[in-house]
């Protein structure tokens, strides 16, 4: 373990922080619209470069001692690489959609890409953390950038409200998490994941279990799982749509990957204890997410509930506590990220002829007649989210159910599958409004070309063509998930 190796493993994070700081300094001079655009593009390129640096670890299935950096504080293993790649893609998409949105409100500032870069840096640390303290540092770096991003549209009251809500509730969750960590440290005497896992064998003490419950509660807030989901609809609705796109994709991946690492690596020996908690949280998220979405009239709120619902399905994979389950979660995330981005990009494309954003369900009435391609794109994403084959979203649900059934949790898979029918109802409602209702003729504005391309690529990915990647995806996710199961 020398410094060179450590620096090499953390190369992506070093690149992001260096460029982030440089751009921060640069943005002090460049505050014009053109500068902001340029800085956005530099940030996107940085993400691409970081992805290129990260990808080989996934490819070679790096794991164990060769992946550890800085005396075991970080791990550049295949699992971290997989999660980071998803995060980079999601972040790049939310950077690309931003200029067209903010320029309408004269709010496109260079801080936006800089903040996103720092959030991504935090997330990279989150998913590579193999130590409770690194985990916390990563989480807070991400969260602090996210609070500011939520309030980015300063003139908009809803945006400010979203930022404040996110901050207050996020700080509370961080407190809960820290409390859980301190309990865990107190009862195991270590903050390294490997050490915790080695100490917590056999019957865990009450104190350690409390630590586990508090850590999981804190993380449940970050992934917006029921019963810690209340902030999600408000923040998603209030935050500017590009920021919501970001919130719904990248931090979700990071927080879920983090939860997987904590549950499977640190507390892997106590799986029986947290499986019940996760099963309950999963089912509750599916049901509450589905029921909550039914009455929504705002599309962003609807997608917020939908994300709660999706997190529930992802947690079904965690509840099975197997390598297959972990791989299934990664597959689901890989499909979920483009679906979510596509959904929000479609909302970004809803503009009236003055270029104002439209966000109501009523605005998209009869969209299939006025804007057939936009309706087709959003429609595919809705069918896909509902998990109707042959759209690709079905595959995500399929693999998590499969992992649950194979792990002997048929009841969980059955209940989750039945609850998915409730979810199908509100996705169908969006389709009904777009395809069956009479045109409202409100969506008349021109859409940005970047948005069109992003939506088109997301729609192609969730179309049946997506199944062609299943083979490679299964191999990669199994490698990545294998990292969390040292004995397997």
């Amino acid at each position: 373990m020398d410094w060179i190796q450590s620096l090499r493993i953390g190369a992506a994070e070093e690149l992001l922080s260096t460029v982030g700081i440089a751009l921060l300094v640069g943005s002090a001079w460049g505050q014009g619209r053109r500068d902001a655009r340029a800085i956005t593009w530099v940030a996107v390129l940085t993400l691409v470069a970081a992805a290129v640096i990260t990808a080989p670890a996934l490819w070679h299935g790096v794991r164990g001692a060769e992946a550890l950096a800085f005396n075991g504080l970080l791990s550049g293993d295949a699992f971290a690489a997989f999660a980071k790649l998803l995060i980079y893609v999601a972040a790049a998409a939310s950077l690309l959609v931003a200029p067209a949105f903010f320029e309408k409100y004269r709010a496109m500032r260079s801080e936006y890409p800089v903040l996103v870069l720092f959030a991504v840096l935090g997330m990279g640390i989150m998913v590579s953390a193999t130590n409770l303290l690194t985990l916390y540092v990563g989480l807070e770096l991400n969260s602090l950038a996210a609070y500011v991003l939520a309030a980015f549209l300063k003139p908009d009251e809803r945006s400010a409200e979203a930022g404040l809500k996110y901050f207050v509730l996020g700080a509370l969750a961080s407190g809960i998490l820290l409390f859980g960590m301190s309990l865990t440290y107190g009862f195991t005497g270590t903050i390294g994941f490997a050490g915790i896992s080695a100490t917590l064998t056999g019957h865990a003490s009450m104190g350690a279990l409390f630590g586990l419950v508090f850590v999981l509660s804190g993380l449940a807030f970050k992934i917006s799982a029921v019963p810690f989901h209340m902030w999600t609809p408000d923040v998603y609705e209030g935050a500017p749509t590009p920021v919501t796109t970001f919130f719904a994709s990248a931090p979700k991946v990071a927080a879920l990957a983090l939860t997987m690492r904590v549950a499977l690596e640190a507390f892997g020996t106590q799986a029986a204890a947290w499986q019940q908690i996760i099963s309950f949280v999963a089912l509750a998220s599916i049901v509450v997410g589905a029921l909550g979405a039914i009455g929504q009239r705002k599309l962003k709120r609807l997608l917020a509930y939908s994300s709660i619902n999706n997190v529930g399905f992802i947690l079904v994979g965690l509840a099975s506590a197997t390598q297959q389950g972990a791989a299934a979660m990664l597959v689901y995330l890989t499909i979920y990220v483009p679906m979510t981005i596509g959904g929000f990009v479609a909302i970004l494309m809803l503009k009236d002829d003055q270029g104002n954003q439209l966000e109501d369900m009523a605005d998209i009435a009869g969209l299939s007649r006025t804007r057939p391609m936009l309706a087709l794109g959003l429609g595919s994403i809705m069918f896909s989210m509902a998990g109707i084959p042959f759209f690709f979203g079905f595959w995500g649900k399929f693999v998590v159910f499969q992992s649950a059934v194979n792990a002997g949790m048929v009841w969980l898979a059955t209940l989750a599958a039945m609850a998915s029918v409730i979810g199908a109802y509100y996705y169908l409602k969006v389709l009904k409004v777009m395809y069956f209702d009479d045109p409202a003729n409100r969506v008349t504005g021109r859409s940005d070309m970047v948005h069109e391309w992003l939506l088109a690529s997301c729609a192609v990915f969730v179309s049946p063509l997506g199944y062609l990647v299943t083979k490679g995806l299964t191999a990669l996710t199994m490698t990545a998930a294998g990292v969390l199961f040292p004995l397997a």
Partner: protein
């Protein structure tokens, strides 16, 4: 795999044409759709011609390991062959019947062509998950067809259709996952020979039943059908009654019976009970309908109950009869919906009382309508008779009571169909506008005449249809023989055995 992948081509042609239709204008879309369905029909004829009757059980097999966890595996036996033939035969007729559609023609044709590809996929899939994907994906085009081009209550009907069927199928999915895990394969022919633990079979059977019973549909989960039928456009009803309902029966004969033989025997009482209720109850409901489409929809439920009864007779007659009822009902109910469509296009109402005495001004129409009515009733010489007779003969060996109750369905069927026919075609011409309607035009002849020919063919020489599936039916019967429940019929062939032997047999 070195032969021509005809099944994949049959799937691909409508899919590709459907994409083109989305971009074409109305007239072009109609032409493309008609051409694509005719090509598929020609391929279907070729498929039948090349099908080796009495040869290998599975033919035209293709396998391509494209995906993770399942593969693109197609292949057909005689049962699948006949149902594919039914689908490709009805599709061009559906396209012809869609003349009255004047809004969003391209999308409409695209949805129908997608539907055709998915139907062929359901019957040709040899991989468990591939089957599920096709089976479930069929909901999407049908949801759109009912929702966009349906009648006044279309939105309610489309939701009901979608959510009912979805709830049934997700349970089946979980059962499939369990099966694949237990048997370690997703290959349907292998699974048909795999012996699941009898206790697990019960659960698996129920999960599959949840899906197929809704699709079939069986009483009491049939209520989506009348709504969907009434609201769907004519061609939608044709495809719904003609092919989609057959997926339930196909599911029973492909999955429930051969994969879970002991559970099928255990739950035969459930099937009998629900079917008996369905036969009597839905027939009576049909008798009082004032809406033509609703009446035919309820008659479908009654006919499908005869199918389930025949399937769970566990013998050759019953199974063959059920298959023939499915094929026959596919043709006849499709034709009846077309007949309704013909006069609906002229008068824009489905109220029976608005018509009357059509035999006077539409004699050819009345003639064809009469033929299909008789086929629906089960008159000898038409396809309906063959199927119903065989099914009932099959179930009679198993349970005379079930046979007795199911047979009342024939009488009630005659009652409601003849009553419908009398009100529409006979009597005096009380409505001037109905009396002024023109007789069949060439396009309508083109739709109805082929079906009439097929109905008579199946009625006069059913061997053409029985021969391809004989081997498969025998295989299923052999699979069921070990566990099938004892019937109440006491057949005595030749001389009675000596007294001592009879006693010895009675002892165990």
């Amino acid at each position: 795999m070195n032969h021509f992948p005809i099944l994949s081509v049959m799937l691909g042609v409508p899919l590709l044409a459907g994409l083109f239709c989305l971009m074409a204008d109305a007239k072009m879309a109609r032409t493309i759709a008609l051409a694509a369905t005719l090509i598929d029909f020609a391929l279907g004829v070729l498929l039948w011609a090349k099908f080796d009757v009495g040869g290998a059980q599975w033919q035209f097999q293709e396998s391509l390991p494209l995906f993770s966890g399942f593969s693109w595996k197609l292949g057909i036996d005689g049962i699948a062959l006949l149902l594919i033939e039914l689908s490709v035969f009805l599709m061009p007729i559906c396209i012809l019947a869609s003349n009255a559609i004047d809004k969003r023609v391209g999308e409409y044709m695209g949805a129908f062509l997608l539907m055709e590809a998915l139907m062929i996929g359901v019957f040709a899939a040899q991989d468990l998950y591939l089957f599920y994907i096709f089976f479930e994906a069929g909901l999407i085009p049908m949801y759109l067809i009912i929702g966009v081009w349906g009648g006044a209550e279309r939105i309610y009907a489309s939701y009901k259709f979608f959510l009912y069927t979805l709830l049934g199928s997700v349970l089946m999915l979980i059962a499939m996952l369990w099966m694949a895990h237990d048997a370690n394969t997703t290959d349907i022919p292998t699974l048909m020979q795999y012996d699941f633990d009898p206790a697990a079979q019960k659960w698996l059977w129920l999960a599959f039943f949840a899906s197929f019973a809704v699709k079939m549909p069986m009483w009491p989960v049939h209520t989506w059908l009348p709504d969907a039928h009434v609201q769907a456009p004519t061609a939608g009803s044709v495809i719904l009654a003609g092919v989609l309902l057959k997926m339930g029966g196909y599911g029973f004969i492909r999955f429930s019976l051969p994969m879970f033989p002991s559970a099928s025997a255990d739950y035969a009482w459930l099937i009998y009970g629900l079917s008996m209720v369905a036969v009597v109850y839905t027939s009576l409901v049909a008798l009082v309908q004032t809406d033509m489409k609703k009446l035919i929809a309820y008659s479908s439920v009654a006919h499908m109950a005869i199918v389930t009864v025949g399937l769970f007779a566990f013998n050759t007659q019953g199974l063959e009869g059920s298959m023939i009822v499915m094929l026959s009902h596919g043709l006849v109910s499709a034709a009846l919906f077309l007949c309704v469509g013909v006069i609906y296009d002229r008068l824009h109402t489905r109220e029976i009382s608005r018509y009357g005495g059509l035999a006077i001004n539409m004699p050819y129409y009345a003639l064809l309508f009469m033929l299909f009515t008789m086929a629906s009733v089960g008159l000898p010489g038409t396809s309906g008779f063959i199927g119903e007779f065989l099914s009932l003969a099959g179930i009679y060996q198993q349970s005379s009571w079930v046979a007795f109750v199911s047979t009342t369905g024939i009488i009630l069927g005659a009652a409601y169909m003849l009553y419908l026919y009398r009100r529409i075609a006979f009597g005096e011409q009380k409505n001037a506008d109905a009396a002024a309607m023109r007789d069949l035009e060439p396009r309508e002849w083109l739709m109805l005449a082929p079906i009439a020919a097929a109905v008579l063919w199946m009625g006069v020489y059913p061997e053409s249809f029985l021969a391809p599936m004989r081997g498969d039916i025998r295989a299923i019967e052999a699979r069921l023989a070990a566990t099938k429940p004892a019937g109440d019929a006491q057949f005595q062939m030749g001389k009675a055995p000596p007294a001592g032997e009879a006693e010895a047999e009675g002892a165990h």
